[in-house]
């Protein structure tokens, strides 16, 4: 289990060193690819464990020094998404990054970002989540500025400044929580909060800080403004990682984890999330309509699509608080998480396609493009699949997750929210019809005249993602859903009902392979009590 963080972290430092030694960029991609593939294998090996939650205390140190890792259904789902998208983005980078200098630095930063994201997802305590958010963030600031053109530096600076504000507030929030509960492990904070009969005023303030901090990472309105600058400025595979994965791992995942698992869900809090979600959906997709820059359009659409996820989770919280049936709440959560997965797939595919288009034509202004459907058949077909997917066209994955979200909203009694979700879906469809119109349709423009199909590595990555766009519809089938998404749904849902942290690790104790693992299950509310020893279980 620690390897999913350690491998990319080590690789992140090794790759530039290797690059310095070998001096050639040709093999620079080999190490990162091997690392990403290894991480994917590790993550795949973790799948299929149902509701089991694995807890690991690193190095056997005593609390509060120890680093704890925690992997339950939600963790495994997000890790899988990161690993798949990360590997494919790297495959794409092999050919795409030939346009840039110093590839080994790029790969180093890429792996650092990967390590940071995996760390966020797998950390069992708040402070480590903060550390890993910072690692991923720093790597991404540098990667946004990787082209070192004026606008890229400006975008990176804005991203850095706002990101730093967010980090500060997250840190202050952590300090408040530590002060109140004396705990950093979020599972134990949850118990402490529940033991105290609910959050107090300082904790509510901390919650607001967390929400702002992670909300900014997730680019929720009104904390979204950095994203439309930062995401287009980065090299295409990085844009794919930022929009496809980073805003989820450091943003939505953290919100879902901390807020739901730790603070539980109240109606107020659910409404706050739902309102932010609706605002993001509306603003993101409306502004998407008028963008002239292909990647900027995609960036705005990320804001809008993440709004769906946040809206679904927020509405689920409200439903839970109002006593709507568990099944409907589970449906809403499932819709949100499924859309998160789908968005990772089609948005990274869209960004990679925009990279291919820019690679072939040298421009990403929509009105300078045209007729690429015939000239770049593979990229064109992939772009078509991704655009139809995000527009919510059956039988592609986007349709199903939007369908589930809308049905769940209606079943929970939120007719207005369902209507807004449907309307935003229409706006998205129109926007992406516009993308298809300008990029694929029409007569070839001057820029498109000399366009050729992109090299095999880029083509391979886009085709793989396009296949996933179709294949991830299979998540609707009970057998697939039961393995991949349902455990995550149950984690979030249990968090909503504030039942999660007790249930899972107890099951873990019963596992003969890890006899002494006990994470959050042990009653250990304060610092001054003797800590339960935590032997290291076999590595995952």
């Amino acid at each position: 289990m620690p390897l999913v963080v350690a491998l990319p972290l080590a690789g992140g430092f090794l790759a530039p060193a290797l690059g310095r030694v070998t001096g050639s960029g040709r093999w620079a991609a080999a190490l990162p690819l091997a690392v990403a593939a290894a991480v994917l294998v590790l993550v795949l090996a973790m799948q299929g464990r149902g509701d089991e939650a694995a807890v690991l205390w690193m190095g056997g140190w005593k609390f509060p020094v120890g680093i704890s890792l925690y992997a339950d259904g939600l963790t495994r789902l997000v890790l899988l998404v990161i690993a798949v998208i990360g590997l494919l983005a790297l495959v794409f980078s092999m050919d795409y990054m030939r346009q840039y200098t110093s590839p080994s630095l790029y790969y180093g930063l890429f792996l650092l970002m990967l390590a940071g994201m995996n760390g966020v997802v797998i950390s069992g305590d708040l402070f480590n989540i903060f550390v890993f958010v910072e690692i991923a963030g720093l790597a991404s600031y540098a990667l946004v500025a990787f082209g070192t053109e004026a606008d890229e530096l400006e975008a990176s600076l804005k991203y850095l400044a706002l990101g730093a504000v967010a980090s500060t507030f997250i840190l202050v929030g952590i300090a408040i929580v530590y002060n109140v509960t004396g705990q950093l492990n979020w599972a134990k904070i949850a118990q402490a909060v529940q033991g105290a009969g609910g959050p107090s005023l300082p904790l509510a303030v901390a919650l607001a800080f967390f929400l702002m901090g992670f909300g900014l990472k997730a680019a929720m309105v009104p904390f979204h403004a950095w994203l439309p600058d930062a995401h287009p400025a980065a090299p295409a595979p990085i844009s794919a990682m930022l929009s496809g994965v980073l805003i989820k791992a450091c943003g939505v995942y953290a919100v879902a984890r901390i807020v739901f698992s730790v603070f539980g869900a109240t109606e107020t809090f659910g409404w706050v999330l739902a309102v932010m979600g609706v605002a993001s959906m509306a603003l993101g997709s409306l502004l998407m309509l008028v963008q002239a820059d292909f990647k900027r359009l995609l960036a705005y659409s990320s804001i809008g699509q993440m709004g769906y996820v946040v809206l679904a989770l927020g509405a689920a919280a409200v439903m839970q608080a109002r006593g709507v049936s568990e099944a409907v709440v589970a449906l809403a959560v499932f819709g949100g998480l499924f859309h998160l997965v789908n968005h990772a797939i089609f948005k990274s595919l869209l960004f990679l396609c925009s990279g291919s288009v820019e690679y072939a034509t040298g421009t990403r202004q929509l009105k300078e493009l045209g007729g690429l459907g015939a000239r770049m058949p593979v990229t064109g077909a992939c772009l078509r699949v991704a655009a139809l997917s995000i527009s919510g066209v059956p039988p592609l994955n986007g349709f199903w997750s939007k369908l589930v979200i809308i049905l769940a909203l209606v079943l929970g009694g939120f007719y207005t929210l369902a209507a807004i979700a449907a309307a935003v879906s229409v706006v998205t469809l129109v926007s992406f019809a516009r993308v298809q119109r300008y990029v694929l349709g029409g007569a070839a423009t001057a820029a498109a005249e000399r366009a050729r199909e992109v090299p095999a590595g880029m083509g391979l990555a886009t085709v793989a993602l396009a296949t996933l766009c179709v294949a991830s519809s299979l998540v609707m089938l009970p057998s697939v859903r039961g393995v991949l998404v349902d455990p995550a749904v149950r984690v979030v849902q249990a968090g909503l009902g504030r039942r999660a942290p007790q249930a899972a690790p107890v099951a873990d104790v019963a596992r003969p392979a890890c006899p002494a693992v006990s994470g959050a299950g042990a009653p250990e509310p304060r610092l001054d009590k003797p800590a339960v020893p935590h032997p290291v279980p076999p590595a995952e």
């Binding site: 804005k158 706002l162 507030f169 609910g198 107090s200 005023l201 904790l203 509510a204 303030v205 607001a208 929400l211 702002m212 909300g215 009104p222 904390f223 950095w226 600058d229 109240t266 107020t268 706050v272 603003l283 409306l286 502004l287 309509l289 008028v290 049936s325 409907v328 449906l331 045209g370 015939a374 058949p377 139809l388 527009s391 066209v393 059956p394 039988p395 349709f399 369908l403 589930v404 809308i406 049905l407 909203l409 209606v410 079943l411 009694g413 007719y415 369902a418 449907a422 229409v426 469809l429 129109v430 019809a433 298809q436 119109r437 349709g441 029409g442 007569a443 609707m476 089938l477 009970p478």
Partner: protein, 672 residues
């Protein structure tokens, strides 16, 4: 998946399309380099498509025959349970569904035959045939779905395929393709939302079965009905969601347009309208009046727009919109009569008869329209094949070059204008009778609009026939050489034209065999219409008798008398002189070609109408354009806030943070 293949009318085109597409994916890249391979692939695709469609049509015929004995159902399999809702697919062929399947499969087969020649030479032809096949599968699936989920899936598939097919047209058509997709995509989401609202209000079972939910007596049901109605109206092309039809008409490949917007989309839209209005809901009087008004307005306004068009395909597209009005009006009248009857404690026999007549008119008009409109578009395609344009100003004198096309076009034009004894007359006659029997003031107003619209249709087609086929040769028509009549394009037109005649003269048979079983499937009692002997159509015991044999005999006799007089006239004075204008021979010179586009300029300039036409032409009534306009203003405002200044963004963050603290801390402190 097995279920889809098991239902042959869906499975055969679906599998054939998949096979063609897979072949293209495997070998398409090589075909780009080798012309021989590309030709081989194309021929294979054509053969597979035609064979599959023949098969599907044969299956559709046997399905139709079987459905007359009672509904044919396939048990739903592989239901996906999501807790409060279950996703399930099921198919069933009753009278209405099997009629749609029969018409769709038959027309698709004819269009595929026509495409063999008409689409020749275009790139990526195997893809075209694959999409064509999938379209048939989608339409058949939508017509037979027993769950709303199946309906939505097939419905959206039809939308996407139409979008992709329209996109295969000329490069400048990409804006129109986008408009089509935007409007129909909007409609699809409306359908989805309507279903969701029904589910949320508890009116639908968990598996979303397409079953009756009863009267539209709660706000949720009214909203759901209106949303679903919007989907049906947009697909069929009724106002105000019709604007994609004329927009897409100009640049889409003509066979595509003849297949989908002219025929299959009408079938789908009216199918859903009938199913919703009579099968799923029991619509109230007010909603029925909305339907009637939509129908009458569509008839009249669209035909007036059609009269002043200068492009043949655009003109036909406006007629395609206008004709939908008759169908909607027929359904609306039937719904109104039934609603009035229910309000008074159960429909009387007379009311049931009136409803049956109006419904039969609307549904038969759907069938008739898909036949003659498809024929008209195919004729336009043939003219375009010769002249390379559909601009009315540049066409003319094609009758000599395309005699078969001319005759087919003439028959279809007379049919659409409602001239007896052709099929358009029979269905319009039924709608008129329904309006008379309905006995409300609004119905009479609608009747007037419908009759007037029919007259304007005839006027407009006189212009078409003159501009395209008669008169001297247009400048775009080559003098000699070039393509002439081609059998594979002529045969589908001839079949469609014969169907126009057959369904007109055999109107009684059509109502009896095709329409009344379909009506029975949605609870319309076959009262008030007698089809004694199979030919005559006796409405309400003789008050609205349509005796096609007698009428046709009289008409033929009249034509014979006219021919005799004409022949006598020719014998009496034979004097043929060439036309000289200013000393030059003008008899066969394109320079002296008088186009018919100016026929109705006076109407366009009429006081009162002039402003309407100007605004209509500028898109002032175009929902899509209006939304775009106001949307742009709104988005511009939003956009202006995003200045790119870090200080501004940082202040948003702080304001947002302050708001969060206030809301969360405030509520938590208060125990929320």
């Amino acid at each position: 998946m097995e279920l889809l293949l098991d239902v042959r009318v869906i499975g055969v085109p679906l599998a054939a399309g998949a096979a063609v597409y897979a072949l293209w994916l495997l070998l398409g890249w090589a075909a780009r380099r080798a012309a021989g391979l590309e030709r081989l692939l194309t021929v294979t695709a054509q053969a597979v498509a035609v064979a599959a469609l023949v098969w599907a049509a044969a299956e559709a015929v046997s399905l139709f025959a079987a459905a007359r004995q009672g509904p044919v159902a396939w048990a739903p399999t592989g239901q996906i349970d999501l807790g409060p809702v279950a996703l399930a697919l099921g198919f069933r062929a009753d009278g209405l569904s099997s009629l749609i399947v029969l018409a769709a499969s038959g027309i698709a087969l004819l269009v595929a035959l026509y495409s063999l020649r008409a689409m020749a030479g275009r790139p990526r032809l195997p893809v075209y045939y694959a999409w064509l096949l999938w379209t048939v599968a989608a339409v058949n699936a939508a017509a037979m779905a027993t769950t709303f989920l199946g309906l939505i899936l097939a419905w959206e598939a039809a939308t996407v395929l139409l979008y992709l097919l329209v996109g295969m047209g000329r490069p400048q058509g990409r804006a129109a393709a986008m408009k089509t997709f935007a409007i129909l995509g909007f409609a699809d989401v409306c359908l989805l939302l309507g279903v969701a609202i029904l589910l949320g209000s508890g009116a639908l079972p968990k598996d979303l079965a397409l079953a009756g939910v009863g009267a539209t007596d709660s706000p949720e049901r009214v909203a759901a009905y209106l949303l679903m109605l919007a989907a049906a109206m947009a697909k069929a092309g009724a106002m105000p969601l019709h604007t994609w039809v004329p927009a897409a008409s100009e640049d889409a490949p003509t066979p595509v347009f003849a297949l989908l917007p002219a025929a299959l989309d009408k079938l789908l839209g009216i199918y859903l309208l009938a199913r919703l209005t009579f099968g799923v809901f029991a619509v109230g009087e007010a909603l029925a009046e909305v339907l009637m008004i939509i129908g009458a307005a569509t008839i009249l306004l669209a035909v007036m727009m059609a009269m002043v068009q200068h492009n043949l395909k655009r003109l036909l597209a406006f007629h395609a919109v206008s004709q939908v009005g008759y169908m909607v009006l027929g359904m609306g009248l039937a719904a109104w009569v039934l609603a009035a009857g229910r309000a008074a404690g159960g429909p009387t026999a007379g009311q049931q008869a009136a409803a049956a007549i109006a419904f039969a008119g609307g549904l038969l008009h759907m069938l008739n329209n898909s036949i003659y409109k498809c024929c008209l578009f195919l004729a336009a395609g043939s003219a375009e094949q010769v002249a390379g344009t559909t601009d009315l100003d540049r066409l003319g004198g094609l009758a000599r070059r395309l005699p078969v096309t001319f005759v087919c076009c003439l028959v279809a034009a007379l049919a659409i204008s409602g001239v007896p004894p052709l099929n358009g007359f029979v269905s319009k006659w039924l709608v008129y009778q329904g309006a008379l029997q309905a006995g409300s003031g609004l119905a009479l107003v609608c009747l007037v609009a419908a009759v007037f619209g029919s007259a304007l249709t005839l006027a407009s087609f006189i212009k078409v026939l003159h501009s395209v086929f008669l008169g001297t040769r247009g400048e775009a028509v080559p003098a000699e050489g070039g393509p002439g009549e081609s059998p594979s394009m002529a045969v589908p037109m001839v079949i469609l034209a014969l169907a126009c005649v057959g369904l007109g003269i055999g109107g009684g048979w059509a109502v009896d065999g095709l329409i009344l079983p379909a009506g029975a499937a949605v609870g319309i009692q076959p009262a008030g219409i007698e089809t004694a002997g199979g030919w005559d159509l006796n409405i309400l015991g003789g008050r609205g008798l349509w005796s096609p044999v007698l009428a046709t005999g009289l008409i033929l006799a009249g034509i014979a008398v006219g021919l005799v007089l004409y022949w006598i006239g020719r014998v009496m004075r034979v004097r043929v002189v060439p036309n000289f204008v200013g000393g030059e021979d003008a008899s066969s010179d394109a320079t002296w070609h008088v186009s018919g586009t100016g026929f109705y300029e006076t109407i366009r300039r009429m006081p009162g109408l002039a402003a309407l036409f100007r605004d209509g032409g500028a898109g002032a009534f175009d929902v899509y354009r209006l939304t775009g306009h106001y949307g742009e203003t709104l988005v511009g405002r939003l956009s202006a806030w995003h200045t790119g200044l870090l200080a501004v963004y940082a202040s948003w963050v702080l304001v947002g943070l302050a708001a969060l603290v206030v809301v969360l801390a405030g509520r938590w402190a208060g125990g929320g």
